[in-house]
Symmetry: C2
Subunit: 324 residues, 2 copies
């Protein structure tokens, strides 16, 4: 399978990750204190490290991607935890669903999920990375940060994902996927997408000569994203992987942070009344989005990469957190 | 205003057309017989011409576009009338809403709408063209064919539109806009978009080197279209307008006809049960689509091009047919 096809198949709302966790794991449930992730990963001798357990640290290592790629993901996670950390429970995934690798070691993945407290608008935050060696000898790396809100609000979710098929080629997805039908609710479109001027960021990236639109092979995913979604493919010349790192550092990183800031300000921290009837609809739609995302992304990829046993274990753990 | 900006602003679900009709108009209501349009326009001495009235003929002249562009639109109208003609009433728009021009003659438009009989699935078919001279000296031509279905079915509508800002540049929109929220109804996505393999046509056009994705400035319209929508900009070199005509003839025309055939087979002629509760939702959504499309497209463009009096007259006539 070509790298591109592989990337297309794995391209997801959901990360393609799973697990069988190292025995030195310390349960994250033992910690109720929540701190920014950034200091942890950059000062691994911090006492906070043990409190959160090595599953968390393993996740934050992002061991297979370039420094600018890793920095971007850690910056995003830090922003989320700085603003929402006090509302989040520690990761309660089973150990063997937090990290896994396949039998011959060609595929590895890490998954970290933190649910929101009862009083929070956050349903859960999901971070992940996946690494696998392709038959061509190249590596595929996928890193994701997703944030789902609960039924106390109808505000959009957040998704950031990088699918890097080689040092010179990647797909970047950044969006606030809507939780309502935008054709039926133009006021929702205005509140979250027009008034926030989200499209300016998409337009800025589209001007870079290395950027092309990315069109998912899944028709469902194409419609899942908002009209301001950043769905792009970036290609640089074969001998210019440094240029890719520059693009991540100078363009993707600041734009991802700005879009996340908009989400934190307008969605995760701003209350919106949701009536009972609307809540019933919202629940159905949220569940449909979750179910389809698992089906499209993980349903076929997980068993192929990690075998049926690991796949079942991880999908089961995810479904439990997703509550579907 | 640049041609491009003008085209973007006029880009629409709805055509930007309106009217003050020549006095030799013969009411199309005098004819109950419906025949293919193609023979009319290609043999203007046909007796059928009078039966349908000159408003219809004026519309079918497409006087300002290239032969391949005109042929494509007439081919599409012929296909619709061949299959659905017996279900359609003659155009009942007021004469002065079927054709109009502005005071200094720099803008002209023609509009033709036929509603479906009570037993048909068709709500109405709308054809139009608009021509205006731009301050730069260039011409802008927009031709459209829209088909809306009624509440007896939830099947998608049909839209084909060409926005030609110069002989070497155009925007082409071709789609079956969904009438349901595809995130909530993946079965609908499968029935009308996956099973019909609509995306193959989009993919074929995307391979042409002259083709770029077209992204509407309206976030609402971006979400209005389906995930298989053909939304493209075609540019050829300044001295190669013949190449544009070849592309219309060899690529746009056959693909538009194939997509229309899919719509005729699977949407306009295939029944689907719609429950009462669902019908209430469908009506709300259809009305929202119609209202927004009028607002986005015609609300500002019509007064600017034709003055407030003509704009009010035409918008009133359209709203009456749209029943919103």
């Amino acid at each position: 399978m070509s790298r591109e096809l592989m990337a297309v198949r794995l391209c997801s709302i959901l990360p393609s990750t799973s697990l069988s966790f190292p025995s030195h794991f310390t349960s994250p449930v033992t910690s109720t204190r929540v701190r920014s992730l950034k200091p942890h990963i950059r000062a691994t001798s911090s006492p906070a490290m043990e409190m959160h357990g090595s599953g968390r640290d393993k996740f934050l290592e992002y061991p297979f991607v370039s420094a600018p790629h890793r920095d971007m993901m850690i910056d995003l996670i830090s922003m989320v935890e700085d603003r929402l950390g006090s509302q989040l429970l520690p990761c309660s995934l089973p150990i063997d669903a937090q990290y896994c690798q396949n039998e011959n070691g060609t595929a590895q993945a890490s998954l970290h999920i933190r649910s929101g407290h009862g009083s929070s608008l956050v349903d859960f935050i999901l971070g992940s990375w996946l690494h696998c060696k392709l038959p061509t000898g190249a590596s595929l790396n996928i890193t994701s940060l997703l944030a789902y809100l609960n039924l106390s609000t109808d505000a959009p979710n957040f998704v950031a994902e990088v699918i890097q098929g080689s040092p010179t080629s990647l797909v970047f997805l950044l969006d606030l996927p809507p939780r309502k039908d935008l054709v039926m609710h133009p006021d929702y479109l205005q509140t979250f997408y027009e008034n926030t001027q989200l499209d300016t960021h998409r337009q800025m990236l589209a001007k870079l000569p290395e950027v092309q639109p990315y069109i998912s092979s899944s028709l469902y995913l194409r419609h899942y994203f908002s009209p301001t979604a950043i769905l792009i493919r970036i290609e640089v010349k074969a001998d210019e992987s440094g240029q890719m790192e520059d693009i991540i550092k100078s363009h993707l990183n600041p734009i991802a942070k700005e879009v996340l800031r908009i989400w934190l300000d307008h969605c995760a921290c701003g209350g919106r009344e949701v009536g009972e009837e609307e809540k019933t609809y919202l629940k159905k739609r949220d569940n449909m989005m979750k179910n389809k995302s698992i089906e499209i992304d993980l349903g076929s990829n997980f068993p192929r990469l990690f075998g049926p046993e690991v796949a079942n274990r991880v999908l089961g753990a995810i479904r439990e957190v997703y509550n579907v």
